[in-house]
């Protein structure tokens, strides 16, 4: 079903006109309300009046995650705090979180976008949906929750961490849809198979996102659980989940162009890529009030097509993501930058700053091991002291990353040093 046919099926000309009008208003708003953008535009000799339609978008400066860090916590907010009704936060590249805010209207537009995604997956008010993304500062849980309520479905706010309870309720309640990371869904499928409960479930659709996955994973999920699995994309800086999602035809993710303008750029030259060419996705929010962002560099690599989809929707489609243009890792749906680990380890004086991250996938769940070197001057000959040290490092890292971590102490000077950029990450996950 198409949730908002008027908006999702507009002609390309109408989309262009709507985007241009909304862009003009948005640029005018940020110029007057956000010092950061006013200064950036002034440096480029730009005034709001210079932005007439979406062709002028390329004149505008980019925004990066570092800009959010530098203006932490609320420097990019375009409304007074009295208008902000919600805060979410995600990992920054170092110790500081990336903080975003929402006005009541922003929450409305978010739940509109997520309702579109769910409707696109055939979910409606007669469905019971388990939201098994984390609830809290992470946008996944509450984003899907509000969207599903807006749709009128029955929402079961499972959050993460208790697979047994999730399965019991899935069977007992006759749950028909689930929203979670694709790797977690595969894990759920395995537990269902092991316990013999797989025959008792009534799932028909799954909304999977927050981490990269492949067509093969989709096929595996669909055949094991006998349901249809859909891909949802989003990032807290722009909105949270619901920026884009795929339809029944699985031919790319529709970007909700009445709210976001996508561009694809070459991450080296920053020049626009041609339609179909892979580059970095850049998004401009044109309706967000609390924290509107101009040309936000997502660092996600993809390509775009503006061809009308067989499903009838006209919004541009981005292909499955092909990776990142930075070193961010997505582990169990949580964004992790190696630089965060480095910053956290500096707090622990007993270890050297040399570390190695080993990311793996065991039983369909991501694991993160952090190897750190034992420094001779802090080496204790008592196992309990070393175990205390391991626990201390573990606590510091878990607090910094928001993710459980296995810490392994290794012998001094065994972590590879290299002349140039050190190899800090071994990602053993094979996405096939």
């Amino acid at each position: 079903m198409i949730w908002n046919e008027t908006k999702e099926c507009m002609s390309r000309d109408e989309i262009r006109l709507l985007q241009s009008a909304r862009l003009r208003k948005m640029v005018d708003r940020v110029y007057h309300n956000v010092e950061f953008y006013r200064k950036k535009m002034q440096q480029l000799g730009l005034e709001p009046g210079d932005i007439k339609d979406i062709d002028d978008l390329k004149k505008l400066p980019f925004t990066t995650k570092d800009d959010l860090r530098d203006t932490y916590p609320f420097g990019l907010f375009a409304v007074p705090m009295s208008e902000v009704v919600r805060i979410h936060a995600s990992s920054g590249t170092t110790g500081k979180a990336t903080v975003v805010g929402y006005t009541r209207k922003d929450i409305d537009l978010w739940q509109e976008c997520v309702a579109r995604v769910l409707a696109m997956a055939g979910i409606g008010k007669n469905d019971k949906i388990q939201v098994a993304y984390g609830y809290g500062l992470f946008t996944g849980g509450l984003g899907l929750h509000y969207g599903a309520e807006n749709l009128g479905a029955t929402v079961i706010p499972m959050s993460t961490g208790n697979t047994q309870k999730l399965i019991t309720m899935m069977v007992d309640f006759g749950v028909t849809a689930i929203a979670c990371t694709p790797s977690y869904l595969l894990h759920i499928a395995e537990v269902l198979e092991e316990t013999g409960k797989i025959k008792d479930i009534q799932l028909k659709a799954a909304i999977c996102g927050a981490e990269p996955w492949t067509e093969n994973m989709r096929k595996e999920i669909e055949s094991k659980l006998r349901l249809k699995a859909y891909d949802i994309y989003g990032l807290s800086e722009i909105l949270g989940p619901g920026v884009a999602a795929d339809c029944d035809y699985h031919c790319g993710l529709h970007v909700y162009e009445d709210h976001f303008i996508p561009e694809i750029i070459n991450p080296e030259t920053l020049e626009p890529c041609k339609e179909g060419e892979t580059g970095e996705l850049v998004l401009t929010t044109i309706t967000k009030e609390a924290i509107p962002l101009i040309r936000y560099r997502t660092k996600d690599l993809t390509s775009i097509t503006y061809e009308k989809c067989q499903c009838g929707r006209t919004h541009a489609r981005i292909s499955r993501f092909k990776g990142r243009s930075d070193d961010m890792l997505i582990i169990r749906g949580v964004n992790v930058f190696p630089s965060q680990v480095e910053a956290a380890l500096l707090e622990v004086t007993e270890t050297s700053p040399h570390y190695l991250l080993i990311v793996d996938r065991v039983n369909n769940l991501d694991t993160l091991e952090v190897q750190v070197e034992v420094e001779e001057r802090f080496f204790s000959d008592e196992i309990k002291e070393l175990e205390k040290l391991t626990q201390k490092i573990k606590n510091v890292l878990q607090a910094a990353l928001g993710l459980s971590v296995k810490v392994t102490l290794v012998e001094p000077k065994t972590i590879q040093r290299s002349e140039g950029k050190a190899k800090r990450v071994i990602d053993k996950r094979v996405l096939i």
Partner: protein, 141 residues
Amino acid sequence: MIKQLSVFVQNEIGSLASVTSVLKKHMINLRAIASFDTPEFAILRIVVDQPEKAKELLSENGFAVKMSEAVAVELEDKPGELDGMLHVIADAGIGINYIYSIVLRNGKAPLIILNTDDLSKTSRVLKEKGYIVAEQEDLIT
């Protein structure tokens, strides 16, 4: 009191041999060896004839090494000897962290090596009860 070396080693194949090969190369004689392992790593504790030299060599070879003192007590090779000594320590209110032994000593009595909460008190109470507490020099052949 004697000197022991503790070496941090990862719990993987060949890691102990990498320590002993450094010692062998420089003709350092091992008097006692014990390893205490966890799933991830182990601490190898050794008593050698030249502890300072061994520490320097192992550090140069990239190992985390710590030199510390331990109490070494002579025990006769007969039933109940260890039990008697352990009671002396327990009665003095001293906690034992770990214990290992040197058995072969060219005809001399076996040595039990102890690490406790209070090394000098341990050594003192044992001497008071007539135990022979060895010094580093006693370990040189």
